[in-house]
């Protein structure tokens, strides 16, 4: 078992090393063979591990194996250890499966691009880091994976580095997620302080034995800090700004990293830390509210996007919000269920979008598409399936998983009607913008630029076959957890039950009983279908039936529309509120206050040097003149001496 676990991790690493070092000398076929074998092997071993795990006598208790001591510093100890339980099982299988398919797809997509080997080396490295993240047995090791996926995402976003926007987007992603990482780090430090360990098994055992209410303060703080890390990584309010820009990267990357796997790391982390959050209902409430508001907020932005990939990016943010709602109301399994189904249909959407891009030589503007369904039947069909799934049309995977979350928002231990209604409205918005995209791209009259028109074609088999497989999963993945109300067994929910049972029990016992009577599960489903249907209908009316309607409507609601098109001006506000003040603040503070006030008046008869236009403290301090250097040394000595004498 311990060997098997390692074997899941190692193939992508080997692939990355091989391609990274020798890739430049290999022919493309070898590179892609190496690159695709790695996730294939990982998938194989993940399945094998799952099978072995299922036959362990200790199952469903988590299996932990420590390979060697990694860091040891006094009481602080972290091993290189892996942790495997049913949640890990689900994650490893889903991650390896999706990434295997995306690797296959990339063979075709990246054929014409430069840096083929580099791309696959990064992609394999990413998979290795992601698997490290989900199998880690302690927070520091998880953090390695966490940072590693961030690094790979940074490298892949900036893959088209000659484009300035690409390298800027890479930088933005890196810096914004770093803010979250500070929270994560502090959270882990605080956790260590509280329990004297950062090991999952130890901490969770302690937590389960902890009487409710104990250590509430520090656990809540830990929960919030860790969630801050998740907010950065999973692109929630207010740190979501990097994800839309991240679409600068190649489309398979958007599919794999920025839809299916990396961005869900935050959700996984919250679910993994369920025992902790069970003791910190306040932190959990923050998770739920942040998720719900983000879901709604991002969905409204998506309404007015005309760039297909950006639209999908906002949709991803919105769906991630759903997952956090699921976790936040205490139904961790629902959040993970949606994570899994979303991985399938969202990567499908992205890959289909990539296929469209391929056909249109990189065009992403929905207003310059239309009528593509005739030329690109497979792509259209698969996109349609994914759209149906994400919109929550009954019978497809998205319906079941979203429904589980909506029901949870109502009935879950921390459920609240307000969350429920906001989430339901968002479901309607989702249906609207997804169908809008579908109709604009594939239906109606062609608006493709005449020059491109002759080139429009269906993508090759290398690309369409993974689409079909993903479409298949997008349909059926939901049936693993058919709700009771429809005669199903909620198998997925029950399967994960041993993992989350104690936390849910604790939450149910401490949370105040939900006010009023909850509507039945069927009513919840009916409502969501109703909203989705309304969304579909509006999109149909606006973009197929009466195509003039939307422009008239936008005329009427010009202000609102502008606000949405410009994404609530969040980037501008950030730039104005944070970036610019930081940049100027140093100048103003150092120059105006410290320099002009203290130094100029005191040190130098300003006349000659005050004319220097953009002088600042540094320039004055580092004037190059030895005498002023000596003055600083002397001043330093005098100040320190003065302090010590007067203390």
């Amino acid at each position: 078992m311990e060997v098997l676990l390692l074997l899941i991790l190692l193939p992508p690493l080997a692939g990355a090393v091989l391609n990274g070092i020798f890739g430049r000398r290999f022919p493309q076929a070898v590179v892609s063979a190496v690159a695709c074998t790695a996730p294939g092997l990982s998938l194989f071993f993940a399945l094998l591990t799952a099978w072995t795990f299922a036959h362990l006598p200790t199952e469903p208790a988590p299996y932990v194996h420590s390979y060697f001591t990694w860091i040891e510093a006094g009481a602080f100890r972290a091993d290189f250890a892996l942790y495997y339980d049913r949640l890990t099982l689900v994650m490893t299988v889903a991650v390896t499966l999706v990434s295997f398919l995306i690797h296959l797809y990339s063979r075709g997509y990246m054929e014409q691009e430069g840096g083929y080997y580099r791309f696959f080396a990064y992609l394999n490295l990413f998979l290795f880091m992601m698997l490290t993240l989900v199998t880690a047995a302690n927070y520091p090791l998880m953090f390695v994976g966490w940072e590693g996926v961030g690094l790979c995402s940074y490298l892949l976003i900036g893959f088209y580095f000659p484009r300035k926007s690409a390298s800027d987007a890479g930088k933005k992603a890196f810096i914004v997620t770093r803010i979250g990482d500070v929270g994560f780090t502090l959270g882990v430090v605080l956790l260590f302080w509280t329990f004297g360990s950062v090991d999952f098994q130890y901490v969770f055992t302690r937590l389960e034995a902890l009487p409710p209410g104990d250590l509430q303060g520090s656990l809540t703080a830990v929960g919030i800090l860790l969630f801050l890390g998740a907010v950065g990584k999973s692109a929630q309010l207010p740190l979501y700004v990097w994800l839309p820009d991240a679409m600068e990267g190649p489309t398979p990357v958007s599919a794999l990293i920025h839809a299916a796997t990396m961005v869900t790391a935050g959700v996984y982390m919250v679910a993994r830390s369920h025992a902790l959050y069970a003791h910190a209902p306040l932190a959990l409430e923050i998770v739920a509210v942040t998720g719900c508001v983000t879901a709604f907020f991002a969905a409204t932005i998506a309404l007015a996007q005309n760039d297909l990939k950006r639209l999908l990016a906002y949709s991803t943010i919105s769906q991630l919000g759903y997952m956090f709602v699921g976790c936040g109301v205490g139904l961790f399994s629902a959040g993970n269920f949606h994570l899994m189904t979303h991985a399938f249909f969202k990567s499908l959407l992205f890959l289909a979008a990539g296929s469209v891009m391929h056909a249109l030589s990189g065009e992403l503007d929905l207003r310059k598409m239309g009528g593509l369904r005739h030329q690109m039947r497979t792509t259209w069909l698969t996109f349609l399936v994914a759209t149906l799934a994400i919109s929550g049309v009954p019978g497809l995977s998205g319906f079941f998983s979203k429904d589980a979350i909506l029901a949870g928002a109502r009935e879950g231990p921390l459920g609240d009607p307000r969350l429920y209604w906001l989430a339901t409205v968002t479901a309607g918005l989702t249906a609207f913008y997804m169908f809008r995209a579908l109709f604009m791209a594939f239906h109606g009259a062609s608006r493709v630029q005449p020059a491109l028109e002759p080139h429009v074609h269906e993508s090759g088999g290398k690309m369409t076959r993974p689409l079909l497989v993903l479409a298949f999963f997008s349909v059926v993945a939901g049936y693993v957890s058919l709700p009771k109300a429809l005669g199903g067994g909620e198998w997925f929910h029950h399967y994960l039950q041993p993992v989350f049972a104690s936390s849910q029990a604790l939450l149910s016992s401490t949370a105040a009983p939900a006010a009023g009577h909850a509507p039945s599960r069927l009513a919840v489903m009916g409502t969501s279908v109703l909203f989705a249907g309304a969304g579909f209908l509006l999109a149909y009316l606006g973009y197929v039936k009466f195509t003039g309607l939307p422009s008239r409507l936008t005329e009427c609601f010009r202000g609102t529309y502008q606000l949405l098109v410009n994404k609530y001006y969040v980037d501008e506000v950030y730039d104005w509120l944070i970036v610019r003040p930081l940049r100027r603040g140093s100048e103003i503070f150092l120059w105006r206050i410290v320099d002009a006030g203290a130094i100029d008046g005191l040190l130098v008869n300003g006349s000659a040097q005050a004319t220097a236009s953009a002088g600042n403290l540094l320039r004055r301090m580092q004037s190059g003149n030895l005498r002023s250097y000596a003055t600083w040394v002397l001043l330093g000595a005098v100040l320190w001496l003065g302090y010590i004498l007067l203390r």
Binding site: L603, A608, R627, L634, A637, L641, G642, L645
Partner: protein
Amino acid sequence: MMLPQIAFFFLSAVTLISAVMVITRRNAVHSIIWLIVTLFSVGGIFLTLHAEFLFAVQVILYVGGIMVLFLFVVMLVNLDVALKQAQFNRQWQVALVTALVLMAELGYGIYRGHQGFTLAQVTATPMSGGNTQAVGLALYQDYMLAVEIASVLLLVAMVGAVIMAKRKIE
């Protein structure tokens, strides 16, 4: 007032006046001459404190060696241009104030802390055989290693001075 006191006050006055001259003279040669005066009077104070050996070192090594080196260098470089320039920069008030504050701080420290010094009974002549013998014995017995390290230091100084001042290497 006894003789040592008178000698001390006289020598300190000379020291301070000449030190002020060192840092205010326009001409570098004058500064050096005044520095020599300072060094002599400091040496004199050494003498009043029964540090005869140090007095000799001060005169022979400092005045006879180091200061002559300074003079050589001043003669070597052409300072005529420099004479015509202002010798102080605009910062001199700041510098003076800072230095005064430094003096005040150190002085205040002494004032506050003077009872903290462990002071032994002062004996007129510390050891038989004279100061020089005592210092010599201490240097070559207790401080043998330090002397060796100092020799390494002088070697470094020699190599460094040669390499920096040589006109052309090879």
